[in-house]
Symmetry: C2
Subunit: 331 residues, 2 copies
């Protein structure tokens, strides 16, 4: 049995290019007792993967040049010598970027049989949805009276964060990079949307749509966004730092905001988080999100690239704003 | 009755100079029923006062040009028509930078009769001591197993923070601006002291003295110090942002640290605080600090300038590293 996999060919300098990736066919061993053979159906590309392409110590080891990349994936069990994973069952894994893989089941999650589309477990019901939920409730301690600012607000995490905050009773402001994305967010009920690409002064634009100030900033972007948010934060405001996508492809260190003293003046709390640290709350999240979906209270978008060979383009597209909602690859 | 007071003559650009201050004699009204006349004996100069010289919205209104400055002071009641404040009693107030003042007692605190020197209520028993205590316990959630880094470690706040953390069982590292201050801190039992002025690479110096990493950073300085601390923080580390003295005299916005993404990777919490928000815990602090002093477990230094007319020099000296421990003016 062969598997096609995408390997890291070289560590990107700046925005990755397709030359940094290589498609390789490898042969898989026959499965042994306790093993399963999985055929991937969907895989996820996420901004955090850019960080793993850098050779540095982090919360997760860096990708290795000449080895297959990794990431969230949904697959079907097509051969099984493990009764916990019968043929035909669906599993989520971190074994993305490849067509097939052999596993003893370790680190795999059997997906429940639901009416939800399989790929939702890579999006709204998966890591991005859980990230939005954990950031708002477990990091930013969201209150119904808060005014919330979400950057990259039409992305996989941002669009869910916006809707959760709205359901919680908050006023929500989002920033996006196109008028099309802005319209999309407006349809989701977001109170005000700023297209940062056509806005001259982000800080002033925020002040105009949130004259009462911002209580919670869900940070996905960094740079000018963070500086603008700091300028508009209210006393005792909370910043949940989920991502800093504006920095990920920087080839030189990018200076931080020049208004950090506002952290003291306004007694702000700025806290970084990684969704995996909150994974023991996944059941709580899934129950809540499942009922929001069942009640048709939450919507999600997907941008789908077709074919494993499109995965590098899908990944690179994340940094070019090509996705609305969750960026996925359908194998 | 006349009072000599120091007024803000002009808003400083960069490091304040004596030209930004003016000594003025004013005449005070006779005291009415309920009033007292106070003669100041000691006054405090503190780095935060630099922020009040800027005309901007903050947690406390800016100083006004042509008006007397304000700040912590200890005085003696020399005339009284208010039974709560008999002649001869000592009061602490925010009416520093002047020789005498009339008050109806509002905002004044009658000092307890203790064996402590009066001026300790401007230092170890007052705002700076309380700042160290609140920052460590109420913001940074100090644990005995923490390795703690304190910047401006020989200052009024820093030197107390170092000693409290040591008593709590922590390993403590301090940064100072001279070898003399370093010796002083060593005598206080601090585990390692870095003279940042003679250190080429602060981040590397920190890594050498704290190879196990830093759990709590008590931030008084900002700039390079914050960047070095971020590089050395452990996972789930906490940064209590008390002050950013390296930024206070900047004439242009100073960029923040270029390694802010470590806040995510290391899941750091960075929180600004103002001691006044924690003042309802003063009783708890004073009881604890009083017993540490009684048991001779804590020491403090004072740098004293003599005469009200020296107050501007004392204040300016804060930004030139001229103080060991609390900077005071004895009237």
């Amino acid at each position: 049995m062969n598997s096609t996999e995408i390997q890291l060919k070289s560590r990107p300098a700046g925005i990755p290019t397709t030359d940094d990736f290589e498609t390789v066919t490898i042969s898989l061993n026959e499965i042994s007792e306790g093993d399963i053979l999985v055929k991937n159906l969907w895989m996820s590309v996420d901004p955090y993967m850019r960080g793993r392409m850098i050779d540095r110590e982090s919360y997760i080891p860096p990708f290795q040049v000449g080895k297959a990349l990794e990431g969230g994936a949904i697959g079907e069990v097509i051969e099984s010598k493990n009764p916990a994973f019968p043929v035909g069952s669906h599993v989520s894994s971190m074994m993305g970027w490849r067509s097939h893989f052999v596993s003893n089941g370790e680190g795999l999650t059997l997906l429940p049989r639901t009416e939800l589309p399989l790929q939702s477990f890579l999006g709204i019901m998966g890591m991005p949805g859980m990230t939005a939920w954990a950031g708002l409730f477990r990091v930013a301690e969201l209150k119904p009276t808060d005014t919330v600012f979400v950057s990259a607000a039409s992305g996989a995490v941002g669009s869910v964060a916006c809707q959760i905050a709205k359901m919680h009773g908050c006023k929500v402001i989002g920033s996006v990079g196109s008028d099309e994305k802005a319209s999309l967010l407006k349809e989701l009920g977001v109170d005000a949307v700023i297209n940062y690409k056509t806005t001259e002064n982000l800080s002033q634009a925020l002040a105009e749509v949130a004259p009462e100030g911002i209580d919670v900033y869900f940070e996905n972007v960094g740079g000018e966004h963070l500086e603008a948010a700091l300028n508009n934060m209210n006393q005792n405001g909370r910043i949940a730092v989920c991502g800093l996508i504006s920095q990920y492809n920087a080839t030189e260190p990018q200076p931080g905001p020049s208004n950090l003293s506002l952290i003291i003046i306004k007694r702000l709390k700025m806290q970084g988080f990684i969704v995996f640290d909150h994974w023991d709350h996944y059941g709580e999240f899934a129950k809540q999100m499942g009922s929001w979906i069942a009640e048709d209270k939450i919507k999600w978008e997907e941008t789908v690239y077709k074919g494993l060979e499109q995965a590098p383009d899908a990944f690179i597209g994340l940094f070019e704003g090509k996705n609305k909602g969750k960026m996925l690859v359908k194998l």
